[in-house]
Homo-oligomer: 203 residues x 2
Amino acid sequence: MPEGGPREKLKARMLEIAEQILAREGLDGLQARRIAAQAECSVGTLYNVFRGLDDLIIHANDRTLQRLGQTLVEARDNAPDRSLEGVLLSFARAYLAFAMEHTTPWRALFEHRLSDSQQVPDWYRERQASLFALVEEVLHGTLTDDLVRRRAARALFSAVHGIVAIALDRKLSDFDARETDAQVRLVVAAAARGLAAGIASEP
Amino acid sequence: MPEGGPREKLKARMLEIAEQILAREGLDGLQARRIAAQAECSVGTLYNVFRGLDDLIIHANDRTLQRLGQTLVEARDNAPDRSLEGVLLSFARAYLAFAMEHTTPWRALFEHRLSDSQQVPDWYRERQASLFALVEEVLHGTLTDDLVRRRAARALFSAVHGIVAIALDRKLSDFDARETDAQVRLVVAAAARGLAAGIASEP
């Protein structure tokens, strides 16, 4: 098993260190020299295991996405009712709770920017797609067109993310968890009813 | 007229310089020393005219908000129809176009963060409120409760902002203006229909 090799163990150890720093300090704390020192190896070794600091950050962000994915699966399974509105609301409120609880790693998902010449790796895009697949699954009964269902899942996610991010960044007022929850519920409930009424079957 | 005084002229000149830097380079380019040099005064004078660099940035961001406000007024007046959905869509698409055209100053509105000990000035919150008032005005016929109308305006703005920001930051894929426009239309149309159907009259 390749997971048992010394290289894989070192990789796992570096990611663990990166996750701990991310949880406490956020993206600014992630420096190659510091992670290498904590993992008791050289910076050269770190750049041998990862393609660079960006690659390590993408891997650390992927861990956050995995945890978010587990949270969303639980939200789906524990939704108060199985209606489109019920499950979408459960997803949205779980997302708000996740962002409130894991604010720094959640922020890192959006703050990390690659230079224009770099591409986000396919495997990371696939991880994102696996999370959207959870939302698309719920939309299946309402939206039959694959493209529209895919679009709606991304649009709904971005809409909820916008409400959560503007609130946690205190862009319009001090953070107010109840008000943010009410805003999320208002938009998701309205959108779910509009979708159920057939809006997205339009061209 | 106080606007004609040398202090007011210098203030206007500094803001003009700040706006030009913001348009070309974004927030990172705004340094007190550089702005003072271009305005041909000392850094001490800059800190006499503004309370500090944060205060100057807030004033520069306020100019962006003023321009965004003009854009929204035009969007309202030129909406293809006067329905809730028609005017909300016109607002949302104008916001997307503004963010695409003025990306760096638009980003600065959201990237500038005060330290936890600092408060956003009341006059800036009032400017934000004046933009939301445009959206609240359109919601007046649909939502009679002041609190709910206020909440809905902020929630809808944040939702549209989320779609625009995630797209322009290339968080889920390369930027695709048509796809982003389609996502904005989908969410706003669905939400407008849900609101019209009475969702927000709930507690």
